[in-house]
């Protein structure tokens, strides 16, 4: 992130993936990163997001190809299982790497 002359390159901040950077989506992606898969109710409980909020964020992540949605039936109840796609995992890792670099460059 530093220029050759040692200054912090602020332009590199613009490269941060905004889709991941949003706090609610970051919480969802961090959770899905450390588990295999979860349903909607579990994600709601863990992140504290409302159904509407989570649903909206999920749609954005799904459109970006960051999560995979699997709809099925458990008995007569519909069940939606969500997991991070390979692309989503890579995006999350890259986001973490860039953020670490940003904070490393900023003097405390």
């Amino acid at each position: 992130m530093n220029n050759p002359d040692g200054n912090v390159n602020l332009a590199s901040l613009a490269q941060i993936d905004r889709l991941v950077h949003e706090p609610a989506r970051l919480a969802v992606m961090a959770l899905l990163y450390v588990i295999d898969s979860a349903d909607f109710t579990f994600l709601m409980n863990q992140t504290g997001l409302t159904w509407g909020n989570l649903s909206a964020h999920m749609s954005k992540l799904e459109e970006a190809g960051y999560i995979e949605v699997e709809k099925s039936f458990k008995g007569r109840r519909p069940n939606t299982s969500l997991r991070l796609s390979t692309q989503g995992r890579a995006a999350f890792r890259e986001y973490v790497r860039k953020m670490k670099q940003v904070f490393k460059d900023i003097p405390a």
Binding site: I35, D36, S37, A38, F42, N45, W51, R77, P78, N79
Partner: protein, 217 residues
């Protein structure tokens, strides 16, 4: 705190949340009660009632646990599948528990052999010089096996309350074999069940049934 540690914490918090319903505590508490009735040796002699009653209690424990998880916990908390590390831990736990079961089978086999061959049994007792403390040794071995196996379960399942349950279980088995009075292990079983019931009530308050659209989603 590093990022890696944070992610670990997120995973651990998610994993441990699956124990918030207190169902494991209730299950283990009932197992202790069932087990104590199984071990209890009445003055008039061991009867089939011991086995029937203990099997009924153990079946009740399993039935309550299964139904509770399926009809109460999962609809409220949601379903989650954990990653490869947790699966690997489960496999390791299964192997260790398998070894424990084998040890138990060997011990039960040796005890049966001892019953069938009183001469060999008294030879062993003589060699160990435990004529007067035979019951104490058996009680210690029993509580050690059960306590240790529960500690292993607690460790590999990342279930902190399991250590308390392990201690209680070991105490229950020791008192049951040594004193042959079921009231103590039943009380100990109650001491395991009670926190489970409190947790279960708290869980019901904390996790109401989700709205219909959340289920449909």
């Amino acid at each position: 705190m590093s990022t890696q540690l944070n992610l670990k914490e997120i995973e651990r918090k998610a994993y441990r949340s699956t124990y918030q319903d207190g169902l494991w505590d209730i299950y283990y508490g009932l197992i202790v009660v069932g087990m104590s009735i199984f071990i209890y040796h009445p003055a008039e002699g061991y009867s089939a009632m011991n086995i029937i009653l203990s099997l009924l209690i153990i079946s009740l424990a399993y039935g309550l646990f299964w139904a509770g998880k399926k009809y109460i916990t999962l609809p409220r908390m949601g379903q989650v599948h954990f990653g490869e590390i947790r699966k690997q831990k489960k496999r390791t736990l299964a192997i260790i528990m398998g070894i424990f079961v084998l040890i138990l089978i060997v011990l039960v086999g040796l005890t049966t052999l001892g019953w069938m061959n009183p001469q060999a049994s008294s030879d062993v007792k003589g060699a160990l010089a435990v004529h007067n403390s035979e019951l104490l040794v058996v009680a210690l071995i029993g509580s050690l096996i059960l306590g240790t196996s529960m500690i292993v379960v607690a460790y590999y399942s990342d279930f902190p309350r399991g250590y308390y349950i392990a201690l209680m279980m070991a105490m229950a088995v020791f008192l049951m074999i040594y004193l042959n009075k079921p009231i103590y292990p039943i009380l100990i079983g109650g001491m395991i069940i009670l926190p489970g019931v409190v947790l279960f009530i708290r869980f019901l308050k904390m996790y109401p049934l989700p709205r219909e659209e959340a289920v449909r989603e």
